[in-house]
């Protein structure tokens, strides 16, 4: 990079801050709507079941047939195992509102992130505030894009809840006015290494939610099979444990390749910056631990006795390591990666 740095646009930076706040408020409303969707799900389920029963009775009378078809035909499922939208999807008004609000939040935050980048004349991921604000934007964007194809609204409470927490954490915990990058970060590897790391992390966030729901659904199914009452009827909005596991695996495979690339790009950058490609700096240690845990997860899926709940736990542990690497290591550990701007 050249010595003649671009001028910081302070006013645009302040607009960016304002839009971050607006996005946080919109996300918080979306979170409430998603939670509302889950809360009133049991009523909706009852209505749908009653309607199904009634229509089936009518059909039975009309055909004069004997025998009982299973209640809740395929067209009346709230979710299906391929997580595509079904005939009843549109009946979830609260969820529709929540998705619209999420898109509004994504647009507002998208403007804020881009404005921040333009104001600083560089990529907007150079300190903890920017890691969090840009990271949460990517999580929300990836989630919204997946929503176009797949009905993952059951994860909305978790994902948008997390996005809200991240964005509030950025604006309240680490408010940082727009500034130039410190020399250590002035490298095009910042663009490559950090963006892929954040993208991989946002994919891991989504799989984390799926694997947690997989475990909950698994426990619920076991309880139902044992003849116990359904304590979590809202989990009817969530697909079965097996499809959750399979979908999480597909995303984890993509995210793992990205993480591998992140570590490699980081090594190349480290070589240019510090003269060694690997030196067991705390950040490097934790990136390695994360890589190994997810490698273990991929292998577990191909090992007898390790599929299902066990591999889900590995994915969850891997994500907890990511969270640890991003929060505790960034803030409390002293290392070469201390760019949190604290």
């Amino acid at each position: 990079m050249e010595n003649n740095m671009p001028t910081i646009n302070v006013a645009l930076g302040q607009y960016s801050d304002l839009f971050m706040l607006l996005a946080a408020i919109v996300y918080a409303s979306a979170f409430v709507a998603f939670a509302w969707d889950l809360a009133k799900s049991s009523k909706l389920i009852q209505e749908i079941d009653a309607a199904t029963l009634a229509s089936e009775k009518k059909a039975l009378v009309a055909a004069g047939a004997v025998g009982t078809p299973p209640p809740g035909g395929a067209e009346n499922e709230l979710v299906n195992d391929s997580m595509t939208y079904t005939a009843t999807s549109a009946k979830r008004m609260a969820a529709k509102v929540a998705v619209s609000l999420t898109w509004l939040g994504v647009l507002l935050q998208g403007f804020a992130v881009v404005a921040r980048g333009i104001a600083a004349g560089r990529v907007p991921w150079g300190n903890m505030y920017e890691f969090l604000s840009t990271g949460s934007f990517l999580v929300a964007l990836v989630f919204s894009l997946v929503l176009l194809k797949k009905d993952l609204r059951f994860m909305g409470t978790f994902v948008i809840g997390l996005v809200t927490v991240m964005l509030c954490g950025a604006t309240m915990g680490f408010p940082t006015p727009v500034a130039h990058l410190v020399p250590a970060l002035q490298s095009y590897w910042l663009i490559i290494h950090v963006s892929i790391a954040v993208l991989a992390s946002s994919l891991f966030t989504i799989t984390f939610a799926m694997n947690v729901l997989q475990l909950v659904q698994h426990a619920r199914m076991d309880a139902l099979a044992a003849g116990k009452p359904d304590k979590m009827p809202f989990m009817r909005l969530v697909p079965g444990a097996a499809p959750l596991e399979n979908f999480a695996y597909r995303i984890n495979a993509v995210a793992f390749v990205m993480w591998t690339f992140t570590v490699m790009a980081g090594a190349i950058w480290a070589e240019a910056a510090w003269g060694r490609y690997w030196g067991w700096d705390t950040k490097e240690v934790w990136s390695f631990v994360i890589w190994v845990v997810y490698a273990g997860y991929l292998h577990a899926r191909a090992t007898g006795g390790w599929t299902g709940a066990r591999s889900a736990w590995l994915s969850i542990i891997g994500y907890l390591c990511i969270v640890f690497n991003f929060t505790v290591v960034n803030i409390y550990f002293n290392g070469l990666h201390s760019y949190a701007g604290l």
Binding site: M1, N3, M5, T7, I8, P177, A179, H180, L181, V182, P183, A184, Q186, S187, W189, N246, Y249, R250, A253, V254, F256, V257, T260, F261, M264, A267, I268, W269, E271, A272, A273, W274, G275, R276, Y277, W278, G279, W280, D281, T282, V285, W286, F288, V289, V292, V293, A295, G296, L298, H299, A300, R301, A302, T303, G304, G305, W306, L314, V329, F333
Partner: protein, 539 residues
């Protein structure tokens, strides 16, 4: 990696020695063991981030051992300050890689054989496969194509779709066996072999390399030989004659500070070292720069900018008026304003050796409480604030001393703010006469210095190549699908004596394959394009 194909009911006592070895080998190379070792490796890496590591930050280890001697001793006993070269960490990854090699070898053999083997024979019942279906097509009489001809055409169709296919036209029901995605296993093997290659490169390459540090003041020249280094760490197989005889002279070091921002005022935004290099003693000098993220690339040993600060030029005279010390003194920055700690040792001073310690303030000013501070990182009003000492510096007994620390226990104070003489305050160009005719000290000027790392590591290139190959292999193994497909052509005669011909197909995934369903749909579409399905009335 290899699947766990050991037998469950092995009776250990009956095995004998060779059997035991084989049993141990099977255990080690089993998938479960590999998974266990992999997870153990993750756990074992964690302590290296919790305790200071000698390989990363030796000073922190010394501080830890001083502050917590008892705990430190125990931690040291279990190599927790050297985690990544410890016996236990090495044992885990060595076992893991032995297990890995034990997995790779048989799989390479197996896959080499699979590549030379025709697709597997057609199962008798295709409707047992996860994806299957039937299409009724025109009979041989209607279309003029025999069952065998249909099978041959289906084989060609599958081949065009990337399958390796074989038409089996003997027997009453001609069929096609096909398989695709052999590259998935090749990618998988490439990934794991590359990991072994990467580890081997790190181990072997690192042993021939070296790295060292040097502080270079403006005007000084570094010549790449052992005596020029402030600290030096050779690899196991390092030889002194492998040092390239190049030289680097620091002409000037520039820092750009942020002067626009109100919130980040004075934050450095650029460091540039202007240097004059000679690749060999008789080579032409070249003007080059070293910057953060832009090292000086010299074939054999690159130079990296890792630190900087001020080096005040000081002259110390002793009581007799002779120069006891003269030259730049490297000071250690303590904060963003470059308030820098400095120590001057003048062992040649007579009759008493002289020592000084205190601060350099690049832009001296006083804060509200009347305390002297530095108000800017640039040297606008440089000032030295020093205490002085005389006596025995302890340098003559041959014990190595830290140049940045003055051992004051055996010394007598001359200047200190608590003494009548007060502390020494010197602006650039000024000279101060020490009390009791002990001599004088003058602040002649200010230079900057840089700290550089010089690193030679021949493993870089092979590691980069193996890393790229492993990424390629990983992508191939995760995003290509290995599938088997079969097509059968069956003709039967129904009750009315009419010939009825059916194409039956089935697909099987080998390994993770979420796309099998859409592949089955695609295959059906292709088959129906070639031989349109016939609708029989009343069926």
């Amino acid at each position: 990696m290899a699947k766990n194909d050991m037998k469950k009911d092995v009776a250990v006592p009956a095995l004998g020695f060779v059997g035991m070895l084989r049993w141990a080998w099977t255990q080690l190379t089993s998938m479960k063991t590999a998974l266990f070792l992999l997870l153990l490796l993750a756990v074992a890496a964690v302590p290296g981030s919790l305790f200071p590591q000698r390989s990363v930050n030796p000073e922190q280890v010394t501080i830890y051992l001083t502050n917590k001697p008892t705990a430190g001793e125990w931690l040291d006993r279990f190599q927790l300050f050297d985690v990544y070269s410890s016996v236990w960490f090495s044992a885990i990854y060595m076992l893991l890689f032995v297990s890995l090699i034990g997995c790779i070898l048989p799989r390479v053999k197996k896959h080499a054989k699979a590549l030379r083997t025709p697709p597997p024979r057609t199962p008798s019942r295709l409707n047992r496969l996860p994806q299957n279906g039937t299409i009724e097509i025109q009979s041989a009489a209607e279309s003029g194509l025999s069952d065998a001809e249909i099978a041959r055409q289906a084989a060609a169709l599958l081949k065009k779709r990337g399958y390796r296919s074989e038409a089996r036209t003997e027997g009453p029901t001609p069929s096609v066996g096909a398989e695709r995605g052999y590259i998935r296993e090749i990618g998988n093997l490439l990934f794991h072999i590359s990991l072994v290659g990467l580890l081997a490169s790190v181990g072997i390459g690192g042993a021939f390399g070296y790295n060292g540090q040097r502080v270079l003041v403006e005007g000084e020249t570094f010549v790449n030989s052992l005596v020029s280094y402030d600290s030096f760490k050779p690899g196991t197989f390092f030889k002194e004659d492998s040092l390239d005889p190049y030289s680097v002279k620091l002409d000037k070091f520039n820092i750009t500070f942020d002067r626009e921002s109100t919130t980040h005022f004075g934050q450095p935004i650029d460091f540039t070292a202007e240097v004059e290099t000679r690749r060999s003693p008789d080579a032409e000098p070249q003007k080059e720069t070293i910057r953060v993220n832009h090292p000086l690339r010299i074939d054999g040993a690159d130079m990296y900018l890792v630190g900087n600060g001020y080096a005040p030029v000081v002259t110390v005279r002793d009581g007799a008026g002779n120069v006891a010390f003269s030259g730049p003194v490297v000071s250690v920055p303590q904060d963003g304003m470059y308030t820098s700690l400095m120590v001057i040792k003048a062992p040649d001073a007579k009759p008493d050796q002289l020592g000084f310690q205190g601060f350099l303030l690049p832009t001296a000013m006083t804060d509200e409480t009347g305390f002297a501070i530095s108000g800017d990182p640039n040297a606008i009003n440089p000032q030295l604030q020093l205490n002085s000492y005389y006596g025995n510096l302890g340098l003559d007994d041959g014990n190595p001393q830290n140049v940045y620390v003055l051992e004051t226990d055996a010394l007598k104070e001359l200047n200190n703010r608590n003494l009548d003489a007060g502390g020494i305050v010197l602006s650039a160009g000024q000279t101060y006469k020490l009390p009791d005719g002990k001599g004088s000290i003058s602040f002649d000027g200010l230079k900057r210095f840089i700290g550089v790392d010089i690193a030679y590591d021949p493993s870089k290139r092979p590691v980069a190549i193996f890393a790229a190959l492993s990424l390629l292999g990983l992508g191939i193994s995760l995003f290509t699908a290995r599938r088997r497909a079969w097509v059968k052509v069956k003709t039967s005669v129904d009750g009315s004596g009419r010939e009825e011909r059916i194409i039956e197909y089935g697909l099987l995934a080998r390994g993770e394959d979420h796309g099998l369903e859409s592949e089955a749909k695609e295959l059906r579409k292709l088959l129906e394009q070639q031989w349109p399905a016939v609708e029989r009335a009343g069926v």
